[in-house]
């Protein structure tokens, strides 16, 4: 494992600027998750680190060595894709042993055998080693794909939405396992996703990307509680943060330049009201299983918040809504701190 440094990276495809002046240091043993919508430049960045793309400008170094011009094979990185991409004609064992049999490594069979078993145990597929790779469930195939990256102990693991083709239940299970494995191995990982739950639960630090730029990087808690602008604030949280114009709550203490108020569930105190004290109406209670969303109308603004299961609020009821230490933003969407 090693530290990976990106300095002033630019990458364009024709007129499309995929990555714009991006600098980032990934510490040894760090789990960095790049979060952003499709087209934000996340995957391009991953491919730049892997050497599958060349930057137009800027430097990349791994473990202190400049690898900007080094081809992929010389970089000692391991890539895990969204699709399993296993060798279908090989058994699980052969799939895992394959990267170790590279002539560059000159590993003997006993060492290969030991390593394959060690990693297979870690990802809990040891009992499947003799199975044909394609005769496994989706979750097992993705475990094999991750294991094949893990056998190599490279400088850094690059993972491009490795869990997104799995169903919700499996995704949840593998997410927890991936975090455990990373902790056990002390692995350095650069991970791309647009799933905010993956980002929050896996990352040491989350990097939020927007149109090729790294807008903010910080711990999940920093990104969630202290976003630099409305874009970052809307990346995390379900239900998503509500933005309402400043004048919706005229009595609220706010900085001079604040033009928008950002309200998350924990910034809202909602109590049943009578017609006299009401500031909003319940328009819909949306049942999502584990959580209920309360949709409110506040002066023709939609506000969505997590419903307290004990409140028993129903559609049509009037409520009093009081913001408590919300976030403020100026007219350009930049954060205004109190």
């Amino acid at each position: 494992m090693a530290e990976v440094t990106l300095v002033n990276i630019h990458k364009a495809f024709g007129k499309t600027k995929a990555v714009l002046d991006l600098s980032l240091t990934i510490g040894n043993g760090e789990f960095i998750v790049l979060l952003g919508p499709t087209g934000a430049g996340k995957t391009t960045l991953l491919r730049l680190v892997a050497g599958l793309e060349q930057p137009d400008f800027g430097n990349i170094s791994i473990g202190g060595f400049d690898v900007t011009g080094t081809p992929p094979a010389g970089r000692d990185v391991a890539f895990v894709f969204q699709q399993y991409s296993l060798y279908p004609h090989m058994t699980v064992y052969e799939n895992l042993a394959f990267p170790l049999r590279s002539p560059l490594r000159a590993m003997n069979e006993a060492d290969i055998n030991a390593k394959v078993h060690e990693i297979a145990r870690l990802v809990q597929i040891e009992d499947k080693l003799q199975n044909q790779a394609t005769r496994l469930s989706g979750g097992q195939m993705q475990r094999v794909a991750i294991a094949r990256a893990l056998v190599r102990s490279p400088s850094i693991y690059l993972m491009d939405e490795p869990l997104s083709s799995l169903d919700a239940k499996l995704r949840g299970e593998l997410r927890i396992e991936l975090k455990r494995i990373q902790t056990v191995l002390g692995a350095t990982i650069l991970y791309v996703t647009h799933d905010q739950i993956e980002a929050m639960t896996l990352a040491t630090r989350i990097g939020v990307m927007d149109q090729g730029r790294l807008v903010q990087i910080g711990t999940p808690r920093e990104i969630y509680t202290d976003p630099v602008n409305m874009y970052v604030a809307s990346r995390l949280g379900s239900p998503a943060i509500n933005f309402v114009p400043r004048n919706v709550f005229p009595d609220l203490d706010a900085p001079q330049s604040a033009s928008m108020i950002g309200l998350r569930t924990e910034h809202l105190k909602i109590t049943r009201a009578d017609a006299h004290s009401a500031t909003g109406t319940v328009t819909w209670v949306e049942h999502l299983g584990d959580q209920d969303y309360l949709h409110l109308d506040v002066q023709n603004q939609d506000v969505v918040t997590l419903s307290n299961p004990d409140s028993g609020l129903k559609t049509g009821e009037v409520v009093q809504i009081t913001p408590t230490s919300p976030l403020f933003f100026d007219s350009k969407g930049e954060r205004v701190r109190v």
Binding site: D167, I176, I197, M200, Q291
Partner: protein
């Protein structure tokens, strides 16, 4: 649009029994979801409704008519596979109008129907564009347009969003449901994705091993699971299961786990001493100092408003979804308390839930 009635339908493929004995009715205008893991029989059920497979036994009625052995083409339904396949050499108008052209409709009628469809989907401005230049979302809308233009009696959809990335899938769920609200078309939708089912369906049928384990609204399925399988399949993180051995008297509101008395909804049946499983959703687990039921914190996953706290207890791992301001640190010993009115008790051997006050609608939900 029409009602779909499936009565005692079975399907064998040689020795393999794909569908055991399915009976259900999809009401006119209902969004009905068949949900289950791969191999549970949901797609086979759908294909029998479509006429792509013939049942080994049973009857299928569409709008009151027996169609059990009718060909697919005689059933007046639209079958939607993954929503991406468009004819690349045709423009949007031709793509949407294609099924009508095949049915031999006149040009003026095709034009009228295509424009009406485009209006419903809000893609009128795209009608004369080539499909190759469209964004992913618009391509899906065109594919949907091709399905709805025929005004069939029912839509059958087999994992139509399976090929999409998760972000886009969520957007399309919202659009499909909004479209359903506008058209009120009888829809049978097959998926293994619980989030798709929970967010779109009026009724969900959860299938396992060729059986329908439970049928009900998303809320019923979630809050009153009929079996351990359903309880485990729906919800993320999954429901916590605590094993215990006990007897339960009629009307009792207490169950003992490791000597700790846990309150629960009043039992509506009596149970002689046997192996039981107490089921509790993560959001119904509370951390309190006082409770004698103890756990050690193994992991904390911060999610912003809430956090998932994973604990080891005498009865295995328990996950709690609690407010993010609750302090929980690794290695800490905490007391666990469960929301009594939300607990389910299952018979471990049969896997079925034991009837309690929870099943009488006593709890909202």
């Amino acid at each position: 649009m029409a009602e779909i009635k499936v009565t005692h339908v079975k399907k064998n493929f040689g020795e393999f029994v794909a569908v055991r004995d399915s009976t259900f009715t999809v009401s006119d205008g209902e969004f009905f979801c068949l949900l289950g893991p791969s191999g549970c029989g949901k797609t086979t059920t759908l294909r029998m409704i479509a006429g792509l497979e013939l049942p080994s036994e049973g009857e299928i009625r569409l709008g009151g008519n027996d169609v059990t052995f009718k060909r697919a083409s005689e059933r007046d339904i639209a079958f939607v596979f993954q929503l991406f396949a468009l004819y690349p050499h045709m423009n949007v108008r031709e793509n949407i109008g294609f099924p009508l052209k095949c049915d031999g409709l006149g040009k003026a009628e095709i034009r009228r129907r295509v424009e009406e469809t485009a209006q419903i989907l809000r893609i009128t401005h795209l009608l004369d564009k080539s499909v190759s230049g469209l964004s992913g979302g618009d391509r899906q809308r065109v594919a949907l347009g091709r399905a709805i233009v025929r005004k069939p009696m029912a839509f059958l959809m087999d994992e139509p969003l399976g090929a999409l990335d998760s972000e886009f899938r969520h957007v399309m769920c919202g659009e499909l449901r909004a479209l359903h609200n506008r058209l009120k078309a009888t829809t049978v939708y097959v998926t293994h994705d619980q989030i798709e089912a929970m967010s779109m369906a009026d009724t969900i049928a959860v299938m396992n091993n060729g059986f329908i384990e439970q049928m009900g609204s998303p809320r019923e399925i979630y809050h009153r699971p009929a079996s351990l399988f359903v309880a485990d399949f729906i919800g993320s993180p999954a429901m916590n299961f605590l094993d215990t051995r006990a007897s339960l008297a009629l009307g009792t509101t207490e169950i003992s786990i490791d000597g700790t008395v846990v309150n629960m909804p009043a039992m509506r049946i009596a149970v002689a001493e046997t192996e039981l499983v107490l089921g509790v959703r993560p959001e119904d687990v509370m951390l309190t100092d006082q409770s004698p039921f103890r756990g050690e914190v193994l992991g904390v996953e911060y999610l912003g408003t809430t956090q998932i706290v994973t604990m080891t207890t005498m009865r295995g791992t328990v996950r709690a979804r609690v407010s993010a301001d609750v302090k929980a640190s690794l290695g800490e010993h905490v007391g666990l308390q469960f929301r009594p009115e939300k607990l389910s008790v299952f018979d471990k051997t049969s896997g079925r839930v034991l009837k309690s006050a929870l099943h009488e609608g006593g709890v909202h939900g």
